[in-house]
Symmetry: C2
Subunit: 425 residues, 2 copies
């Protein structure tokens, strides 16, 4: 049996990695130990590959993957806790934190500190670099039930979403005690993260569902363009929402301040909704009717009556016959803060395509809608209540097939871990 | 109701596009006509976005997407014919050819030559550029049944694959009268192609299944590195297969010459097999056993006993106790031409992740294996017969869950269409 070869030419050692010289000197070690060392050293070369070499800092006052500009791909995973042990949860959150930090830096799991016969890292992302990977954790309402004794730590804002008109929720795609949102510019990198983090959960939590998403890195981002890619309606997605959020705006909309649970200070709430779009019905809708339903020009993204994508919506403007230029049922009118008692959210959605609907043979595709807010009761809930009752899109072309809400704790400092927010030191 | 705004700043007209001046001059036209014109003009700006601007030529002696270096993403679609009319098939193939050529150039469907109330293009790829999109068509055995009177044109090499040991074929993911393989460096571009080409088939053929794949663009390709990305085993995929195929080798392995059907001259046969991998069993396998099952070093990709990824396999080498260095059941030994009566294929596989297995809760993920060859009977079939009987990977970790074979006609000249190969002029 051969021993693993060196990791390849070039590249000095990186922080946390193992130098090539040390690797070669270890030839008397076990195959497993060597393999772990070799796996750890590999990314030193990998990051030379170029376009996947960019990394998003993992540590900080807020978690990455929320205010981070959207990457191209999503793997969203939800877990059911299978332990009744608080120390089990603590160990998982500590292991997830350490692993997520390594993966976000493009480093594989393990290294020579965890030599085992089977490599600690499954290996499919070796050589790909971090690809702007972010891993964001969230705690579902179920984590704060009686099982673990954490009920006193449950924020009032964290509760299962209420039912909305036209909901068609599939429980197997909904809920979860924990979630991980992995986003990256390379799907293999995001998949690898969820694959390996799910393995770390074995015995403590089990993967309940996961959802792949794509298509939400803005073309022209490198030129400083705003983040407005297109959804599967063919329209720019979330123009107004993304445009109005300045760094100051994030504090008002996204980050928890002065809530009922101090551990959530600097955190936020994640809402996920899988929105199936009736793509063929939509495609057969005349362009003018599509634009009336959205409230924007399809190509330019300008609000009806405006000229440029980021022009202010004039909700009061009237046209022929005194009718509003932006119709009463237009999505952009109904979703805007002024129509929802001031409610605002930060959208961070992705397109999805999950095969064919077995009932109809049509594409089972749409938008995996994710948003962040300080309080769902002043964010998603009033907006969706308004949309589900009045919106031309929601009424005619959308079907919400999943629902989930999670409390995302604040970020961690280097050396800390996600469980500390819950007092699990 | 507003009329669509201009397509945005900058960018001169492209071949086949409509100038901005002409667009604005058309303000008296119908909304639908304007929309089509605007949609057609949009990519002039889009291709400035940068990294998705590369295009693969559509026309040529062979179809694109076969010898083309692998892109990052796959959307593979299979269709059932729903018409008994030869002219219906002809119209579909002509429409598909025209559309595939436009999409491969980054242009949306339609333009002002097809003004309709609903836009001819669904729009989700506007602004993304061609992203190296290739669209490859294939004809399944069912196309040559009695229905259309095409039986006399069926090549002897085109027949459903035989059953193999350990097969677990799901018919709903298998077969098909027609296929389209769309590959691109942007999943949204590949999805958009299949979405819109499927719409063109309405009334003639219906989407039977489609499969998303990822992760097969090699890191470091831009530096001229070989195409050996990693599969979900964590190993380099298809090293030997890709390395031995020189441009001369493609003629021997891939392109049909002198077959029983003249229309297939310059074409090839596509075999698709969805290979579920038991990822957790694999991840728990000691590294040495993983490497023995594959026959290669996991990190470097070197054949056991070798030092570099592209070192020649020494199948005769023996080690301690006279045992072969590359075990008798190693995948690389059993899949090599010398072990399969000289059989060779061009692999063009992609990783997939399709959610959870509802029976076990494990990842339903693996390799969507695609290969091309002059004759499946001298390519995939003898190789898979050998692997299914003897291979450590196939026996222990793989499950073939789909099977399909298609005859891919040669390429078309500009102005021609795919149906011409079948005499459908």
């Amino acid at each position: 049996m051969s021993s693993p070869g060196p990791a390849g030419g070039g590249g000095g050692p990186r922080r946390g990695a193992i130098s090539r010289r040390r690797l070669l000197a270890g030839s008397g070690a076990t195959v497993a130990g060597l393999a772990a060392a070799t796996l750890a050293a590999a990314p030193a070369n990998a990051s030379e590959a170029g376009d996947t070499s960019a990394a998003v800092p993992f540590y900080g006052p807020h978690q990455a993957g929320i205010a981070t500009p959207s990457q191209e791909h999503l793997v969203f995973a939800a877990y059911d806790l299978t332990t009744g042990s608080l120390s089990g949860l603590r160990s998982l959150l500590a292991a997830w934190t350490t692993a997520a930090a390594r993966l976000s830096a493009g480093e594989p799991l393990g290294g020579d500190e965890r030599p085992t016969a089977a490599p600690p890292d499954t290996g499919e992302a070796l050589g790909l670099g971090p690809a702007n990977l972010t891993v964001t954790v969230g705690y579902g309402p179920g984590l704060f039930g009686d099982r673990l004794g954490l009920a006193r730590l449950r924020p009032a804002a964290l509760a299962d979403l209420p039912p909305f008109a036209l909901d068609a929720i599939d429980p197997s795609r909904s809920g979860g005690d924990l979630c991980l949102q992995a986003c990256a510019d390379d799907l293999q990198v995001a998949f690898h993260a969820v694959h390996n983090l799910s393995r770390l959960a074995l015995g403590t939590a089990t993967l309940r569902y996961y959802q792949l998403g794509f298509g939400m890195k803005a073309p022209g981002t490198s030129a400083g363009g705003p983040q407005t890619p297109r959804n599967l309606l063919g329209f720019h997605d979330g123009t107004a929402n993304r445009a109005v959020l300045t760094p100051g705006g994030l504090d008002d909309v996204v980050w928890v301040r002065g809530g009922d649970q101090r551990w959530m200070e600097g955190g936020t709430y994640l809402v996920a909704r899988r929105i199936r779009i009736y793509l063929e019905s939509w495609a057969r809708t005349p362009l003018g009717d599509q634009e009336a339903a959205v409230g924007r020009d399809k190509v330019s993204g300008a609000p009806l009556g405006g000229r440029g994508q980021f022009d202010r919506m004039d909700l009061a403007a009237t046209g022929a016959g005194g009718l509003p230029v932006i119709p009463a049922t237009a999505h952009v009118r109904l979703a805007t803060a002024a129509s929802c008692g001031g409610a605002q959210i930060l959208r961070r959605s992705f397109n999805f395509a999950d095969g064919l609907d077995p009932m109809t043979g049509e594409l089972d595709a749409g938008l995996y809608f994710i948003c962040f807010q300080r309080d769902p009761g002043r964010g998603f809930i009033p907006i969706q209540r308004n949309l589900s009752a009045n919106d031309a899109l929601t009424g005619g072309y959308f079907e919400h097939t999943s629902s989930a809400v999670f409390a995302c704790p604040p970020g961690v400092r280097a050396g800390g871990h996600w469980g500390e927010a819950l007092g699990l030191d």
